[in-house]
C-alpha cells in the first residue's frame, strides 16, 4: 500500500496501517538509533520512538515524509536516552584501545574476512564525531537522499554532502590507523 495512504489510515487510528509503517521503518530506525546509542540500547530507543510516533501521529502535518518525521523522533529519543545514561559510568577509552589491540593481533586471514572488515567499519563509524556520523548513517544505512538529510538535520544540502564526504575521509583515516585499510 502507498505510504501516504498508510499514514492517513494510521492517523485515523488504524493500528494495522501503523504496524505496516513500523515494519517498513524498523530496520532503518534501528540503524539510526544504533549509531547514536549503540546496539545494546538501540531497540529500547526505537520502541520508545515508535510509541511516541503513534501518539503524535494525529498531529503529524505531513509537510515532511513520514520517514523524515520518524527519524527526527528517533534522533530526539536517542539523545534523551544518552542524557539519561550520562550518569552511568562509560567504558574507559583504554578498554576500547585494548580491544582494538587485541583485534589487531588476530591473524591476517581473519582480518581479510568480510565479516571482520564490516565489524571494523562499524567500529570506525562509531568513532566519527556525531555531526559527521549522522549524515553518513542517514545516507548509507537509512538511504535518505541529501535533501532529506538536510531537512532532517536542519542544514543545507551542500553541507550535508560536505559532511558525508568528510565522514568518508575520516572513516578511511580511522581504518588506516587501525591497520585495516591501506
Amino acid at each position: 500500500m502507498d505510504e501516504r495512504e498508510l499514514v492517513r489510515r494510521a492517523k485515523g487510528g488504524d493500528e494495522v496501517a501503523f504496524e505496516a509503517l513500523v515494519r517498513r521503518y524498523w530496520a532503518k530506525a534501528y540503524r539510526l538509533a544504533e549509531s547514536l546509542v549503540g546496539s545494546a540500547d538501540a531497540e529500547d530507543v526505537v520502541v520508545e520512538a515508535f510509541v511516541q510516533a503513534w501518539q503524535a501521529l494525529p498531529r503529524f502535518r505531513e509537510q515532511a515524509s513520514f520517514g523524515t518525521w520518524l527519524f527526527r523522533i528517533v534522533l530526539n529519543q536517542a539523545r534523551q536516552w544518552r542524557r539519561k545514561q550520562e550518569t552511568v559510568p562509560v567504558e574507559p577509552l583504554e578498554a576500547e584501545s585494548e580491544e582494538g589491540e587485541e583485534l589487531s593481533l588476530r591473524d591476517i586471514e581473519a582480518l581479510a574476512c568480510e565479516q571482520d572488515w564490516r565489524h571494523r567499519v562499524q567500529q570506525a563509524v562509531q568513532q566519527l564525531p556525531e555531526h559527521l556520523r549522522l549524515p553518513l548513517v542517514l545516507r548509507f544505512w537509512d538511504e535518505l537522499s541529501y535533501p532529506e538529510i538536510a531537512e532532517l538535520l536542519g542544514i543545507k544540502e551542500s553541507t550535508a554532502r560536505m559532511r558525508v564526504a568528510s565522514a568518508l575521509k575520516q572513516l578511511a583515516a580511522i581504518l588506516a590507523k587501525m591497520g585495516v585499510l591501506s
Partner: protein
C-alpha cells in the same frame, strides 16, 4: 582536472551522480594519478561496505512489547475536560482580543498590532515604533497559557502581532506575511532560544541564554534541545515536563521574530506561537521585570493535525 577538483567530486563519483563528461575527466585523471585512484578506491570500498552493512542481518525483529504498547489507546481526555478547556480557551480568546483593543497597561515603547482588530493604522504604527529597537526588555504576554496537557487537542494560537526591526523586511517574502508571518520561509536561517520552562512561573532572565539548534525552517520542530537548556534550567526537569517549553526564534542578526510553545511530549509539534514586540524601556510590574507584556493572542483553534499547522 587537478587532484583537488577530483577530491571534491569523489563523493558524487561514488554516488554515481556525475554526468558523462565529468565522469570521463575524473577517470582520466585517476588513470594517471595513483593517489587519487587509491583514494577513490578506498571511498568506493567504504560506501559498498556501508551499504552492505545496512542490508546485512543483525537487526532484531520488532519486539512484541512494541505491538503491546501500540495497542494502548492514544491519549484522550474525557469530554468534560475538553468542554472545560474549550470554555477556558474561549475566555482567553476574549481576554486576548480585549487586550489588543484595550490594553490595561499600554507599553510605552511598543505597539500591538492584531489581525482582526480592524485597526490598520495601528498595525502600521506598531511596525514603525518597533523598527530599530534594541532588545532590552524581554518577555511574553502569555503569562496565562492554558496547559496543553489539559486539552483534548492542543491549541494553535495564531500570531497576530508583529513589529520588529528592519531586517524583518529582508526576511519576509511579502508585505502580507510581514504582518501575518504565516510563511515558514521567513524563518530561513533562524535559530531558536529556549526562553523558559514551566507555565506558572514567570520567565526568568537566567534561562534566556540557553541557545540551542532548532531545525528551522523544517516543518516539524526538533526538540533535541534539553541538553542545551543547561543554563538556568535543569535538563532532566525539562525532560520530565511534558509541555511548556517556550522557544524564541531569532533571525540571523539575533532579532526575535517568533516565539513558540513546544509540546515536549510530542517533539514534532509546536502547540502555540506568537510574536512579540520588543520594548526598550524596562517595565515596572513584577511580571514585566522578566516579561514585558507585548504580544496578544488573537485566535485559538483546536489543531486537527492536518494542514496549516502551528506555523
Amino acid at each position: 582536472m587537478t587532484c583537488q577538483q577530483v577530491r571534491r567530486q569523489l563523493l558524487a563519483w561514488v554516488e554515481g551522480e556525475l554526468d558523462e563528461s565529468q565522469w570521463l575527466s575524473l577517470v582520466q585523471h585517476m588513470e594517471i594519478c595513483e593517489l587519487c585512484r587509491a583514494e577513490a578506491q578506498r571511498w568506493q570500498r567504504l560506501v559498498a561496505t556501508l551499504r552492505a552493512i545496512a542490508q546485512s542481518d543483525g537487526i532484531p525483529p520488532v519486539p512484541n512489547r512494541l505491538w503491546h504498547r501500540l495497542r494502548t489507546p492514544r491519549r484522550r481526555l474525557p469530554a468534560v475536560v475538553s468542554l472545560f478547556v474549550t470554555a477556558c480557551v474561549a475566555f482567553l480568546l476574549g481576554w486576548g482580543v480585549r487586550g489588543i483593543a484595550m490594553p490595561s497597561v499600554p507599553p510605552q515603547n511598543a505597539a500591538v498590532a492584531g489581525r482582526g482588530t480592524g485597526d490598520e493604522g495601528r498595525e502600521k504604527a506598531g511596525g514603525q515604533v518597533g523598527k530599530g529597537m534594541g532588545v532590552q526588555g524581554l518577555g511574553l504576554s502569555l503569562c496565562v497559557v492554558p496547559s496543553p496537557s489539559q486539552l483534548s487537542t492542543p491549541l494553535r494560537v495564531r500570531p497576530v502581532t508583529f513589529a520588529s526591526v528592519n531586517n524583518f523586511d529582508r526576511l519576509s517574502p511579502s508585505s502580507l506575511s510581514r504582518w501575518h508571518f504565516d510563511n515558514p520561509l521567513a524563518l530561513n536561517g533562524a535559530t531558536a532560544m529556549a526562553l523558559g520552562v514551566g507555565h506558572k512561573r514567570p520567565l526568568s532572565l537566567p534561562s534566556l541564554h540557553s541557545r540551542f539548534a532548532a531545525d528551522f525552517p523544517t516543518d516539524e520542530f526538533a526538540l533535541d534541545s534539553a541538553e542545551a537548556m543547561g543554563q538556568g534550567v535543569d535538563a532532566h526537569q525539562v525532560a520530565d515536563e511534558p509541555y511548556r517549553i517556550f522557544v524564541q526564534v531569532t533571525d540571523p542578526q539575533g532579532q526575535v521574530v517568533r516565539t513558540v510553545l513546544v509540546d515536549k511530549s510530542e517533539p514534532s509539534h509546536v502547540v502555540a506561537e506568537w510574536h512579540e514586540i520588543w520594548q526598550a524601556k524596562k517595565p515596572q510590574t513584577e511580571v514585566s521585570d522578566d516579561a514585558s507584556v507585548l504580544a496578544a493572542v488573537h485566535d485559538a483553534v483546536p489543531d486537527r493535525g492536518d494542514g496549516g499547522g502551528a506555523r
